[in-house]
């Protein structure tokens, strides 16, 4: 228990938080802009992880797998929005919950049909498979730093797109008043399809990049989904900034919970959430 120990755990916590942010930002964008509660969001995370695993086997390069799995997740997301979700915009939120619950079942079973029920390890690229020495007997795996860096870059990129570009302007406008945006001549249907696809791609990227650390296993999307909901609600539904802070908070709570109170590790996350919601029922940035 010294300063290095805390530093390492803090790094782990931040890395996990950044990863959660990638998934949760897609969830909060989709909810904030389209008003859709997408329970199947965790399935995109799983899809990204499994396509990365599969493509890494086929191509022999994790980098190629990462790059290729992104458009796959985006395409699947776009297809689901166009074929299924689109029919439900005018319906109650609960219908969306039910539909996307059905999708979870389909995704989980399709995963078992295609890739089987075994746990698979994903090889780390050799270039990144080393550790950064901290002291005589402590070191920090470089791949985890790379994950953090990629997530941070994507987070910055997202902020830039949303705050500074025309597309981001449409997205923000669509979030505050859908009809008005439509009246101004913007193709809202296409916009929504794209937002859904981007959300799916973000989750897919998170799954793909995390695969070498977490390995891939059936049902991996479910636990991430629940944590992401926690993140989104803590941050305030629809707020990307809130999702960022919420994700870091939950990443740290989970990591330190595991180390300090191993018996109640998972409990700690939900305790944090309950505490935040009791203090601010609408989340930190609603």
């Amino acid at each position: 228990m010294d300063v290095w120990f805390f530093l390492i755990q803090a790094l782990n916590g931040v890395q996990y938080g950044l990863l959660l942010f990638l998934v949760a930002s897609g969830l909060t964008l989709i909810f904030g802009i389209m008003g859709i509660i997408n329970l199947a969001h965790g399935s995109f995370y799983m899809l990204g992880a499994y396509t990365a695993y599969w493509l890494a086997l086929k191509t022999g390069s994790l980098l190629a797998a990462l790059v290729l799995s992104l458009p796959i997740a985006a395409l699947v997301g776009f297809g689901i929005e166009t074929l299924l979700v689109r029919a439900l915009y005018k319906r109650d939120h609960l219908d969306q919950v039910l539909l996307t619950y059905g999708l979870i079942l389909v995704f989980n079973e399709a995963q078992k049909l295609i890739w089987g029920s075994d746990v698979h390890a994903v090889a780390m690229p050799a270039v990144l498979n080393w550790s950064f020495p901290l002291t005589d007997n402590l070191s920090y795996p470089i791949y985890r730093l790379v994950i953090s860096a990629v997530c941070a870059v994507v987070a910055l990129g997202m902020w830039w797109v949303i705050a500074k570009t025309r597309f981001g302007m449409w997205v923000r406008a669509g979030a505050s008043n859908r009809e008005m945006v439509q009246a101004l001549g913007i193709n809202v249907k296409l916009l929504f399809g794209l937002v859904f696809a981007i959300g799916a791609a973000l989750a897919g990227l998170a799954g793909a990049i995390a695969a070498p650390v977490s390995s891939v296993y059936p049902g991996m999307g479910d636990s991430v989904l629940i944590l992401c909901f926690v993140v989104v609600v803590i941050g305030g539904v629809g707020s990307v900034k809130g999702a960022f802070l919420g994700a870091i908070l939950i990443g740290l709570a989970d990591t330190f919970g595991r180390v300090l109170v191993p018996d109640f590790a998972s409990f700690s996350v939900y305790a944090v959430m309950a505490a935040v919601l009791l203090w601010k029922p609408k989340g930190l940035f609603a």
Partner: protein, 332 residues
Amino acid sequence: MSRLPRPVAIALLALVVLLAAYPLYGAWLFPAKHAFLMQKITGIMILAIMAMSLDLLVGIAGMVSLGHAAFFGLGGYMLAILSPEYEAANIWIVLPAALAIVAAVAAIIGALSIRTTGISFIMITLAFGQMGFYFFNDSRLAGGSDGAYIYVMPAVEIAGISLMNLENKLVFYYLVFGLFIGAYLLLKVLLASPFGRVVQAIGVNESRVKGLGFNPDHYKLVAFVIGATIAGLAGFLGAAQYGFVNPAMLSWHQSGTALVMVILGGMGTIFGPALGAFVLELARMGFEGMTEHWLLPMGLFVIAVVLLLPKGLAGLLLQLGAKPAPEPEDEA
């Protein structure tokens, strides 16, 4: 709540009669699988009790809870914890004690949760549900993640005379059947009462209810506790039936399944969610029999129902029942 159109009421009554008489004709109809089906239907009726209790929260009061299984599981765990290890527990003590504890926990969780609404309410109930799950999963209180066994059914006796032998599958079937019908009638009576009217009004428009001088929070809390306690009863029965409890009873999957039963069946109708429980569980049984990958057709089935039946099975029934002979408007 308006009364059911006559054709629908008759159809439901016919289903109830079919259910009540099942032990009589089941052995003749399905000789090879009778014992299995008896057990299955008992289990489905237990889930139907839980689905109806969730409908009070979701469909009637507009509180979408994704943590309802916590109370279901807690009811079951209370039976496991309060039962002596190798002898029968006294049901007159265990059952009220279990329900009282579930109600007390529900009062605390409910009081904290109803401060939020909408999606935050979904999430905070999910958080409490998960806390309950990890409480039993991680602690050594009742076997941790392995769960705990209840070796002997509770005894139902007065002054040493046994009234019911719950080990007997037929007796247990009718006990559950009675409680299933009882729970439905209880909820209907509740909804027809002045209290129930206010709770229904809250589900429609909470601010107006406030404007009329009621405090919605009190009514929501009481509805939450009643729903949770009925779910606790269902969990108690479930634990008694299988003689086993494990943390999965409290998991969000279980809460999600109950919510699916409510939406699938048609929320706000009480009978719909019960119907949803039967259809979902029978569909699962059918798909399980067809293929090892039954979750795939199950998922497609759920998706098809959402797209084709916006108001659930109950909505379809009410539409069919109302169309051919437009009934005179019943009391509003």
